[in-house]
């Protein structure tokens, strides 16, 4: 199973990432991150067995309850959480910490699936769209409150599932247009951008056949152009005023990483150096110099992919990447086969979440995405993320198993 492969590889890579030549640590030493990861894997196996044992109806029935619990946890962490790197989003339990934000994805996915499963829900209707948005927005806002913007962005991934479930195509389109404009604003001078938007609008207007130039259509074109200009103007305001300093920098670095390679661009530059130095075959397991010697920050968590890139080269990273894409496609195909809408929606949610993590995490290490601190599923060190991804995936497998007829009781 792909899952097992991922987890084992992740474990070994965590070991490699924290491995240092002067302390020859044992792979199973509980004081190191690799050792702890082993413990997390062990507990995850227990969780998986539990999930496979529990009746599939449980998830269906208690979807909203689980959602409620995660919301409560999110609220609680705001009050009782401990402060890690400026974000108050962790529960400290002895030597281990748990991040409720990771689990809120699960809760939200279940709740959304349960909601959309209602027979009369139609995502082309504004009311249902708003309801779904509400379900997503509640935990997202709570996560923002705990200053963990990266995890919040993951909730955008539900748009993939909603799209599949009938959300009109122009929602994702608008999202894409906004993102595109956002990036353009940072690269292209504003006046040129304004000009080209107006030109584009006029072009569309004149290319429209005369018989279609109804007031309504002209209005659409006009509103689109105006709102695009508004977005462009807004982006500037947003970047400079709303975002925090480090977030601003991360975005600027993405646009121009060479501007300040030792300062703000450090993470990305070092990550690229580490991956780039792996060449075709990599330096060999435990031979990586960049990742082990702390040049790459957070090399066992968010930048774990650097270790793969450096030590296993292009071959290793390509294998990992294809494995993930294969896993994603497999989930989508399985989801399509589900008889219940609940299971299908849930499957798509899982795929969306995994995809989003994959895209952002690997994207940032190779300099295609801004640095957003979210883990690579199954690879990154960290109990919460491993647990939540495993639970996400295995609930889906459990739901799927009912269809196949395995594991039923």
């Amino acid at each position: 199973m792909l899952y097992i492969a991922c987890v084992l590889m992740g474990w070994l890579n965590v070991y490699a990432a924290v491995y240092s030549p002067e302390t020859q640590t044992n792979l199973f030493d509980m004081s190191t991150e690799a050792g702890k990861q082993l413990m997390w894997i062990g507990t995850t196996v227990l969780l998986i067995i539990a999930i496979l044992v529990i009746n599939y109806r449980f998830w269906d029935t208690f979807a909203f309850v689980i959602y409620g619990i995660t919301i409560l946890l999110l609220l609680l962490v705001l009050v009782a959480g401990s402060n890690v790197n400026g974000s108050r989003s962790w529960f400290k339990l002895g030597a281990f910490s748990i991040q409720p934000a990771e689990f809120s994805k699960l809760g939200t996915a279940l709740a959304l699936a349960r909601y959309i499963d209602y027979p009369n829900v139609n995502l082309t209707k504004l009311k249902d769209q708003l309801s779904c948005a509400g379900i997503i927005a509640l935990p997202a806002l709570l996560i923002i409150a705990s200053n963990e913007t990266g995890s919040m962005l993951v909730f955008a991934s539900f748009i993939i599932m909603l799209y599949r479930e009938g959300l009109p195509g122009f929602y994702p389109l608008i999202a894409i247009v906004i993102v595109a404009l956002f990036i353009l604003t940072l690269i292209v001078p504003k006046l040129i951008l304004f000009g080209s938007i107006l030109a584009l609008g006029l072009l569309v207007f004149f290319l429209t056949p005369r018989y279609q130039r109804s007031v309504q259509n002209v209005m659409v074109i006009g509103i689109t152009a105006v709102s695009m200009i508004a977005i462009v103007a807004g982006v500037d305001f947003f970047v400079n005023s709303v975002l925090q300093k480090h977030q601003q920098n991360r975005i600027k670095v993405l646009v121009n990483p060479a501007a300040d390679p030792l300062g703000v661009g450090w993470n990305v530059t070092q990550a690229k150096i580490a991956i780039g130095s792996g060449r075709l075959q990599g330096k060999g397991f435990l031979e990586g110099t960049q990742t082990k010697l702390d040049f790459v920050p957070a090399q066992s968590t968010d930048f774990i992919f650097c270790t793969i890139g450096e030590e296993h080269g292009f071959i290793g990273s390509a294998v990992v990447l294809s494995m993930f894409v294969f896993l994603l496609c497999r989930i989508v195909i399985l989801a399509e086969k589900q008889r219940t809408r609940f299971a299908r929606v849930y499957g798509y949610s899982v795929a969306g979440i995994l995809f989003f993590h994959l895209m952002i995490n690997i994207g940032m290490t190779i300099g295609l995405m801004p640095v957003i601190g979210i883990p690579l599923p199954f690879f990154s060190y960290g109990g919460s993320s491993l647990w939540s991804f495993s639970i996400l995936l295995f609930i889906f497998l459990k739901l799927d198993s009912r269809r196949v007829g395995m594991f039923t009781r």
């Binding site: 075709l280 110099t289 702390d294 040049f295 894409v325």
Partner: protein, 658 residues
């Protein structure tokens, strides 16, 4: 319709996967700049400086060794000082000093060690070492410092200092880096490549903060540092130190050579300085002080000063003339016909030995005349040119007019005129013997360094051959590994019997001739020759060359005392004491010893606005403190010359021979 959206979703997944894959392909396969940056990023070359070779004298005594010193480093991040006041007291620091050092260290780096205190001596370090355990964040690095236990021969040993910008730029194969130490003069420079050893290179991995995290590839590419080889010299430290004390308050040189080997026994350049002054952390201060000293203690006079040899050159003239057949040992010349006056009052009564003994100027005028005209040419102009050419060939075999090739940097060539020089000066056939006759008594266009004069003494001692003088007699171990050119016997082309004639005259000169008994040492037959080097700027320089004993000579020596005035007495006294010390290992002539040590021939320093600079002569244990500079020399009679003033007073001072 909506069912088809799954293909779009899968398509998006695959698209992103492909984009990322190609980006990875670009980063990892196509673009190799990242790979290069990686190794410079994390793998660092650490240079291990080997111990510099040490220098011994001929008896195995240390002349130069390395003293371990301790540099204390501080890592601000780790610092834990429970009681700062106690800590400052321990290191005898002021609180303000401590604060400023810490501030500098913190500004440099929190995580990397910075220099806290430099060059703590072993004693200091032993005192604080135990107490340092209580203070976290401090570590020591051992380094070494050149130490000169004999406090002597600073000029010939040279010194070690940081490599200069210019040297860095001009090195042919890049070896030195900023901050490296390099031998800067004397033996330290000459034998730099041997003394420095082989630097080791270690590759270590360092993390992002520059903190070393272990060796790279388990040291497969490391090379070990190889310590520099030790140098064994022919110097006799006791003689060197003794000669130092004799030369105090004088400007000049003492060079002694073991004739049978060509090894230099001592090489004094006066005034000198304590070599330790240029080895401590006060290097730049000491150096600028030395450089400003008007007596120029940084010049190694035995090889870098040139003088007219004066009457000492008569030894060579006699030998060359005998070999050429221009004169015979029994030849007698009267004073008549010579433009030069003489002090000997023995006109027409001296044979060649006698002429050497009494340093008869007219005699050697005639000798040189015979020498130049000792050919078939009737034209006196042509005959002079031919004769001088021949003379030049013979004299240059003594090493005059070219570098001897001693193992010291910046040896001067000196000057030995040949016919071409006078052709240039006066025009061809426009000069003859009467133009150049001053050469006959060692004046004129001759320039000879003290080292060469000592070598001339060694040649006479050996009766016709010499080894190129050298200081280092063994590299690595005694007697091994020196340049083969120092093991090559040089013949000067003079028959051995001619030397006996000259040696006879030299022995006479010491026992009842020009030295007026100043150089007589009971029990040792010394053969010597005085000389006066004319000095237009001030008082003449006193010269003495000698070897002893006459049979089976052990030592050949040349002493130059600048501004000691006419006659070789000042130099002869020094030379005889050094000879006595070397051969008897003690000095019995205490009166002379005292007189020489007390005599002061330092020229007056005229212009400086500031008070006369301090000298760097190591004060001898037995001499009382005395004014270092004499304001005007005439105001004070010159001590060793005093007994002679009466006998010399009648003699015309304008002449040069003696």
């Amino acid at each position: 319709m909506i069912e088809n959206r799954k293909f779009i979703v899968i398509g998006v997944f695959c698209l992103v996967g492909l984009v990322y894959l190609s980006r990875l392909f670009y980063l990892q396969i196509l673009d190799d700049s990242y790979s290069l940056e990686s190794s410079s990023n994390s793998i660092k070359r650490v240079i291990e400086i080997p111990y510099r070779g040490q220098i011994y004298d001929r008896n195995g005594k240390f002349m130069v060794y390395n003293t371990p010193v301790y540099d204390l480093y501080v890592t601000p991040q780790k610092v834990q000082i429970p009681d700062t006041a106690a800590f400052c007291h321990l290191l005898s620091l002021e609180r303000t000093e401590f604060d400023s050092i810490m501030a500098v260290a913190k500004a440099h780096s929190y995580r990397k060690p910075s220099l806290f205190l430099r060059q703590l001596s072993k004693e200091d370090f032993a005192r604080i070492q135990d107490a340092l355990v209580d203070y976290r964040g401090f570590e020591h690095v051992t380094s070494s410092m050149r130490t000169y236990p004999a406090h002597t021969m600073a000029n010939a040993l040279g010194y070690v200092s940081e490599v200069s910008r210019k040297q860095l730029d001009e090195q042919e194969t890049p070896y030195y880096r900023q901050g490296d130490y390099i031998g800067r003069s004397g033996l330290e420079e000459q034998y730099e490549s041997i003394l420095r050893g082989q630097r080791g290179i270690k590759f270590v991995m360092q993390n992002v903060h520059g903190v070393v995290k272990g060796s790279w590839k388990n040291g497969a590419f490391d090379s070990l540092a190889i310590a520099g080889k030790n140098l064994h010299t022919g110097i006799d430290v006791e003689i060197q130190q003794y000669a130092d004390t004799l030369m105090q308050n004088k400007v000049g040189s003492v060079v002694a050579i073991e004739p049978s080997t060509g090894q230099v026994l001592c090489m004094v350049s006066a005034p000198t300085y304590d070599p330790n002054a240029l080895s401590s952390r006060f290097f730049s201060k000491s150096y600028s002080k030395l450089a400003k000293n008007p007596y120029k203690p940084l010049i190694n006079r035995p090889v870098m000063a040139s003088y007219r040899p004066g009457s000492t050159f008569k030894l060579i003239q006699a030998l060359v003339a005998l070999q050429d057949g221009a004169v015979s040992p029994g030849s007698i010349f009267s004073h008549a016909g010579s433009p030069m006056k003489c002090h000997c009052n023995r006109s027409g009564r001296l044979n060649l030995s006698g002429a050497v003994q009494y340093s008869c100027n007219p005699y050697f005028y005639h000798v040189f005349r015979r020498l130049l005209y000792n050919n078939a040419e009737r034209n006196t102009f042509k005959a002079s040119a031919m004769g001088l050419h021949h003379w030049h060939d013979m004299v240059s075999k003594f090493g005059i007019g070219s570098r001897l090739g001693i193992d010291l940097p910046s040896e001067l060539k000196g000057s030995l005129p040949d016919a071409d020089l006078y052709d240039k000066l006066y025009g061809e056939k426009h000069w003859k013997f009467s133009t150049v006759y001053s050469l006959s008594i060692g004046e004129g266009e001759l320039l000879i360094s003290p080292l060469k004069m000592a070598n001339v003494a060694a040649i006479i001692a050996n009766r016709g051959w010499f080894y190129t003088p050298h200081i280092v007699s063994g590299i690595g171990e005694p007697g091994k590994g020196i340049d083969s050119k120092y093991l090559e016997k040089h013949e000067v082309g003079i028959d051995p019997q001619h030397f006996e004639v000259v040696a006879e005259g030299m022995q006479g000169a010491v026992e009842h001739g020009t030295t007026t008994m100043a150089a007589v040492i009971p029990g040792i037959t010394i053969c010597g020759k005085t000389g006066t080097s004319q000095n237009k700027k001030g008082k003449d320089h006193s010269i003495f060359v000698a070897f002893a004993p006459r049979e089976n000579p052990k030592i050949a020596i040349a002493v130059f005392v600048e501004n000691a005035g006419w006659g070789g007495i000042a130099a002869a006294s020094v030379a005889s004491l050094v000879i006595e010390k070397y051969i008897k290992r003690r000095v019995d002539n205490h009166a002379l010893d005292k007189k020489v040590k007390e005599s002061n021939y330092l020229p007056a320093i005229t212009p400086p606005k500031k008070p006369a600079p301090k000298k760097f002569v190591e004060p001898p244990k037995d001499s009382t403190a005395k004014p270092l500079i004499v304001k005007t020399v005439p105001a004070r009679p010159v001590a060793p010359a005093q007994p002679e003033t009466q006998s010399l007073a009648s003699r015309p001072v304008t002449t040069n021979g003696n």
